[in-house]
């Protein structure tokens, strides 16, 4: 799924990385626990989380993630935006809660099979 589609599906606001929205992600993970992201995530290019702090950017950097979506309307401050910019990570924010945001993406094709699920 292209990041511009992610933006559309989540009605998201983009804070940095507007020029990278044509890039594609094939999987995502929704998690507030960075320890678990580091321990269990494999090749997921996008992180959806309700946690907003520098360690989220850092974790995404270590895991080679392309995009972070903050859920529940949480927004990054200028420090985080700068950090993400330096590390070439796209930052978005959506009003949807984590569960709903993940569900919307999953049902629109961001799932292991890549199929859209009629609902």
């Amino acid at each position: 799924m292209k990041l511009e589609k992610v933006k559309e599906v989540l009605n998201a606001k983009v804070f940095t990385g507007e020029n990278k929205l044509s890039e594609t992600v094939n999987s995502a993970c929704g998690c507030d626990l960075m320890s678990d992201v580091l321990a269990f995530v494999k090749d997921q290019a996008m992180l959806l989380t309700g946690l907003v702090n520098p360690q989220v950017i850092r974790t995404a950097e270590m895991m080679d993630m392309k995009c972070i979506v903050f859920v529940r309307g949480k927004e990054p401050d200028e420090t985080l935006i700068q950090m993400a910019k330096e590390k070439n990570i796209v930052l978005m924010s959506t009003q949807y809660p984590l569960y709903v945001a993940c569900g919307r993406l999953y049902s629109r094709g961001l799932n292991p099979e890549g199929i859209e699920i009629d609902g």
């Binding site: 321990a39 360690q55 974790t59 420090t79 590390k87």
Partner: protein
């Protein structure tokens, strides 16, 4: 690269927002040297977990990384409180981290086991009230 490169970092134990700077810097160096992405990721995760541990538990410390074509050798030394029962600390889910640390998304008790998982050699020694020493090696693909 013919010779090995040695990088040394003083990890500040008082600023959570800076935690991860050293790992980030090592990752950049490895990228610039053209290491395999999988190797870089293993080093990044193992080192980042170690660096977070230093900040969370030991009020900082010193990280020394030696990069050679054969392997990446990481040494993390601190003069923190030490670990009384290493076997217990290695168990997934066991943590002594504070609520403040948990709010940052850490302290789930996965750090040490994760460091072991992503490194090819993992040696930890610790003495209570003296400090902890962690040695990790990630071997390069030949």
């Amino acid at each position: 690269m013919d010779k090995s490169i040695v990088l040394k970092y003083d990890v500040d134990g008082n600023d959570f927002s800076l935690a991860g700077e050293a790992s980030s810097s090592v990752k950049k160096v490895l990228l610039s040297l053209g290491f395999d992405p999988e190797i870089i990721r293993k080093v990044s995760i193992a080192l980042y977990e170690g660096e977070m541990n230093m900040v969370i538990h030991a009020n900082g410390g010193v990280i020394t990384v030696e990069i050679s074509p054969e392997e990446i050798h990481m040494l993390l030394e601190d003069t923190g409180p030490g670990i009384e029962d290493i076997e217990l600390a290695m168990q997934e889910g066991y943590s002594t981290a504070s609520d403040k640390v948990r709010e940052l998304g850490f302290g789930a008790g996965m750090g040490l086991s994760n460091m072991k998982k992503y490194s090819d050699v993992f040696i930890i020694t610790s003495e209570v009230n003296k400090g902890t020493r962690v040695e990790m090696v990630v071997k390069n693909k030949q």
